[in-house]
Amino acid sequence: MTLSAGTDAVRQSLASFRQEREADWKAFEALLARVEKRAPRTLSEGELLSLPLLYRSALSSLSVARATSLDSALIAYLEALCLRGYFYLYGARRSLRTRIGDFFLHDWPAAIRDLWREIWTSVGLTVIGAIAGYWLVASDKRWYDAIIAPSLAGGRNPDSSAETLRSVLYGGGDHFLSGFAAYLFTHNTQVSILAFALGFAFAVPSVLIILMNGCMLGAIFQIYAAKGLGFELGGWLSIHGTTELFAIAIAGAAGMRIGTSIAFPGELTRMAAAARAGRVAATAMVGVTVMLLFAGLLEGIGRQTITSDVARYSIGGGMLALWFCYFYLFRMVRHGES
């Protein structure tokens, strides 16, 4: 019967296809397993050069198998292998060091410059919030408890005496203070993450969080200013506050960018606009975390040890100037870029 002769020939040729290529697939698989675990520099030169060749050979095997073979396990194996190879070879793999370097030299300031409009809106909202907070507490001091949670107030309230308030400003070496600084660091980071992450709801929550943050600032300021300690509080806050408030403003700006680009995507689709805004905003957010870390350090170390108002103001102002120079004046031109 001709039938069995025909099928036997097909069986033979497909079996030999697999036998001939199998060694290459296995070699590619082993090599991939190695480079996924360790850095590519552990490979020898020959192995490194063979990686793309083996990838292409696996891809061509996949094409042949799809067209001629009906062994679905074989096709599934080749698809998984090629996908792993594709992700590895086209993953634009840069070492962690260059990624971090790029971030500080280029990506971070660029993201901040890109967000300038939102950042100024956010700073403006903080100021408006602060004025509102000041005015509310000035008109009725019961507003203070509504604006500032008692756990954050740390015993400061409108009824505190000037001495108590002053002792917070100039009291050195409080025992639990560094713990409190760490708590504030995580608290502020979470406020920033919220201001960023809630932005997708058309930026409304971000605006509210930034306004609220300004309100708290204004409320604290009022109770100090009422006792004639406004200038001193300014120094106490500014030593780390310039960095911290700027960071929170940037976080709010990042959230607003996402919200506005979802609301007004322009020529892109809503999804694509959101994705693009999300990436700029995320870069800015990592910067925010770094800034908050700086603020936490300044707060933990500097605030209680440096008690001169002038020094406090100059450190705060200096930090702000530093951030401005870094974001807006410092431009690194990378090679191959105009």
Partner: protein, 293 residues
Amino acid sequence: MAKAKTVAKAKDPAGLVRPLVTPEGVDLRVKLADAGTRASGFLLDVVVIITAAVVISLVTIFGLSGLGFQDAQPLFIVWIIFIFFLRNVYFIAFEAGRRAATPGKRMVGTRVASRSGAGLTLDQVIARNLMREIEVFLPLSILAARGSAGVADTLTTIFGLVWALLFSLFPLFNRDRLRIGDLLAGTWVVEAPKLALAEDLSLRKDPIAARFQFSAAQLDAYGIAELQKLEEVLRRDDYSALKAVAETISRKIGAKVEPVNSKAFLTAYYGELRAHLERKLLLGNRKADKYAR
């Protein structure tokens, strides 16, 4: 056309396969991870994080008290920062790594990929993970804080739960199974299993199988869809399934098979049917299923 569609549907019941054409021009057809897989991956990660937090906290507490370290304050700072980093950095560090997957994702065989098909960048990983804060940790921490303060009234509990449900079910309401974080970062989660190369079933040598002979008419009874089901059954190697399938096939093609010989018969029929269909394939006829010609 209608038939092609039903075939595609049979291969991809949940509609989760997406084209991914490599620069070499081959479509790799990535399969998106379904909601169940993603949930189990995330839960595994949560278990890992909680275990690490508990173990490290216990070790530091006992280690330091053993050293006679009474001042708890520096410990407290380190602990706060550690918990914060564990939660926020765990996902980012692992997904920015070479395999683009957390241990939980690795265990269920998935990874994060860029929707555009280009390489996954660090800012994408960061964006998708920061959004997790509001999707999961925000409602939970609100509930925990309210609960510990004893002020968790029904309304806040319901609000927290509805919020958490809304976000955790979000992937079910869009075609690409995107979380809010994926949506903003331009990523998705695809299946990237590590498969071992299975044996070629048609090379199986079976002395009893050699006794079975099939005519062209008997091999024309089935198509590719049935062949692949048969392959599944043979690889699973479950006695009662083999027997049932052997009965069905022998009835359809009119062959006589003893129940003890089911596996040998199916092996023989699989080999012959596959060779028959592959021969047709080479001649330009992809017989999709038993209804096709």
